[in-house]
């Protein structure tokens, strides 16, 4: 699979402050890559460097084999970008905006079809300043697609949107992938990354602290899955005596760490053999969100680290 984006030892300094402190990653063509991080972590700076909107201090960046800063004009014909908090000329309608972009990019895209694709057809004659936040983002998405881009950069495309608008944007992103485009997505919604991304990188204080598929990140950085039942403290005592795995008891729930899934039956029969009443059996899996909070928290705050279970 060819590489769409290649980043090696990327550094961005503002004066003495290092906003990006040496970042490496690569994005295979045709995949969805999610860049996660708390606000101020360096997500937008990195994205803008990739889009050719910001100059890097050092390191090597190739997008479609081009240097985004020096070869920006060539690159911009092949990528689509929705900046964070997309704004446009207030009195212009979505249809006119697409026609404007169509002339600038010398393409023959049909405004109606493009706006239908982002579910904005009903608002194609409404002025930009009358659109809702979600509709504005959709127009941004439509404009980013006017030039039939090979890579789409979406910087927090769903921030501040209601759940319905968010789902509509997700559908468009899935569709982009289906069409074979590469999607570079930044978000601070973990659910979004987990649902959409093939690859995830978590950036914090200008450094990547975890990278891989969502599953890999959970496996490496998350806590092992647990078998959890409702039961008294007494049950936890019994299990501690009869099992080698770690046992936790809290607020009426007893949880047993499942280091190896083949231990599941052994744990369940121990619970049953205890003769102590129990109910509501479930397995608890760590989520990307939990991993993210724990990783970012550990880096930020020692107190949070010691509180973290497991």
């Amino acid at each position: 699979m060819p590489t769409a984006i290649e980043v090696r030892s990327l550094v961005k300094r503002y004066g003495t402050l290092a906003a990006i402190g040496g970042v490496d990653f690569s994005v295979p063509a045709g995949t969805v890559f999610a860049f996660l991080g708390p606000n101020g972590a360096g997500k937008t700076t990195t994205t803008e460097i990739l889009e050719g909107l910001r100059r890097r201090t050092s390191g090597d960046v190739r997008v479609l084999g081009l240097d985004p800063w020096t070869e920006g004009r060539t690159l911009h014909r092949r990528i689509g970008v929705i900046p964070q908090d997309f704004r446009f000329f207030e009195k212009i309608t979505p249809k006119e905006a697409v026609e404007y972009y169509r002339t600038l990019f010398h393409t023959d895209v049909d405004p109606g079809r493009l706006l239908a694709q982002v579910e904005l057809l009903d608002k194609m004659h409404a002025r930009f300043d009358t659109l809702s936040g979600g509709q504005k983002q959709k127009l941004g998405l439509a404009l980013a697609l006017t030039n039939n881009p090979e890579i789409c950069f979406l910087d927090e495309p769903t921030t501040g949107l209601d759940p319905h608008a968010r789902r509509a944007i997700w559908a468009v992103i899935r569709n982009l992938k289906r069409e074979g485009r590469t999607v570079f997505l930044t978000t601070h919604y973990l659910e979004e990354a987990e649902l959409l991304a093939d690859q995830v990188a978590i950036i914090h204080h200008g450094r990547i602290i975890a990278a891989g598929t969502p599953g890999e990140i959970i496996r490496i950085h998350g806590i092992p899955p647990r078998i959890s039942v409702e039961g008294p403290e007494e049950l936890a005592g019994y299990l501690r005596a009869h099992l080698t795995a770690s046992v936790f008891s809290e607020r009426g729930r007893v949880e047993v760490e499942l280091a190896d899934r083949r231990d599941a039956l052994k744990i369940l029969s121990a619970i049953e053999e205890s003769g102590i009443p129990w109910q509501a059996f479930e397995t608890r899996q760590d989520t990307l969100e939990n991993v993210f909070v724990r990783l970012v928290g550990q880096m930020d705050d020692g107190a949070l680290k010691s509180e973290a279970p497991g």
């Binding site: 446009f88 000329f89 006119e96 002025r127």
Partner: protein, 370 residues
């Protein structure tokens, strides 16, 4: 420079403008207000002859009547003899003030008799300092006619003859004629300067420049489309101002093709200058400040409301470094004096400055960050 890109951006600018009723209203109504306001303020002083109230104490002697008709022949003043018997030299000043007459003249008793005996007589002119124009003209006319009579009394021959004054150019000029090129220049300066300074900082703040930097549109194309828009706007507002001046105040300006280059190069210069001012500053507040520092002196010191030739010498020298001076002077040459060669040299100055400022604006106006 791709004309299709410029055309596409021009349509965006035009639509944004037409859909903003307030902006449209101001750009069409403001010229009328300007011409109307200044026309009304100054049309009284611009109306040819000044009415001069005359208190003839010399019992309508032949000589005093000759003196008054000589005054009328100057066409500067019109002598109106006060018939009211209650008016005397003692209460003349009060009477003038009460009846709103700016200027008056007392022909003293014994004027003719003293004149024939070669004895000095005093012709007292009353003036109102609040109406400097009428006062100056009255004093000028009376002393001119008095000089003529003095020469006659001394049996002298005037060696230097001043034939009736001819008006510069082809028409008789009034203040409103002078005001029209000045106010066209005023709107060529102010409307692009204020809005470009604002656009330069607000588009940067809202990220619209970043958005445009991701398209094949270049900065030069973008700025050219704005210039084209302001050229169009200038043509419309100049047309409105000339029409208002001609129909409301009887102005007689020459509407010639010679105006066209000024209405094109003027906006070219000031759209670029506004963009430059907005680009060298970091915040909207400092951009507005720089814009005002550039705009305000130019607004008043370039011959917009008063001819630069009436300024003190130091200010005249300063006016000559202001680019708007050349726009207004050029339009005066074209519209009032039909002086093409002076207009061409003015045009050359504006054009060269416009090219330089345009290049600087493109250089300083970055639509992406370092």
């Amino acid at each position: 420079m791709n004309p299709r890109h410029i055309g596409a951006d021009f349509r965006i600018v035009a639509r944004s403008y037409f859909r903003n009723p307030l902006a449209l209203f101001f750009s069409l109504i403001f010229p009328i207000i300007l011409i109307g306001l200044f026309g009304l303020i100054f049309s009284s002083t611009a109306s040819g002859t000044v009415s001069l109230e005359v208190l003839n104490e010399d019992h309508n002697s032949a000589l005093s009547i000759q003196f008054l008709s000589a005054l009328n022949e100057t066409h500067i003043v019109q002598a109106v003899v006060v018939e009211d018997p209650s008016v005397t030299p003692a209460n003349f000043a009060t009477w003038l003030g009460q009846n709103d007459h700016p200027v008056g003249l007392v022909v003293p008793d014994g004027f003719a008799a003293n004149f024939s005996r070669n004895q000095a007589v005093n012709m007292t002119v009353y003036t109102n300092p609040q109406d400097a124009a009428s006062s100056g003209e009255a004093v000028f006319a009376v002393s001119g006619v008095a000089n003529g009579f003095n020469l006659r009394a001394a049996n002298g021959t005037a060696l230097i003859q001043v034939p009736p004054a001819k008006t510069v150019g082809s028409q008789i000029l009034t203040y409103i004629d002078f005001l029209i090129p000045g106010l066209i220049g005023f709107s060529i300066l102010t409307s692009p300067m204020f809005s470009m300074v604002d656009i330069a900082s607000s588009y940067r703040k809202e990220g619209i420049f970043r958005q445009l930097s991701l398209t094949p549109l270049t900065r030069a194309e973008w700025l050219t489309s704005r210039i084209a828009w302001y050229v169009l706007l200038t043509f419309v507002s100049a047309g409105i101002m000339i029409a208002t001046g001609v129909y409301l105040f009887g102005a007689h300006v020459g509407v010639t093709l010679g105006m066209v280059p000024f209405l094109v190069v003027g906006p070219f210069l000031f759209v670029s200058l506004g963009m430059l001012a907005g680009s060298v500053t970091k915040t909207p507040e400092s951009a507005a400040l720089i814009g005002n520092i550039i705009t305000f002196p130019m607004m008043f010191l370039s011959g917009t409301f008063f001819p630069v030739s009436q300024f003190p010498t130091g200010l005249q020298a300063f006016a000559h470094v202001l680019p708007l001076y050349y726009v207004i002077d050029g339009m005066n040459q074209v519209m009032l004096f039909s002086n093409t060669s002076l207009a061409l040299s003015d045009l050359a100055v504006i054009f060269v400055s416009a090219v330089v400022v345009f290049a600087l604006a493109i250089r300083f106006f970055q639509w992406r960050d370092e």
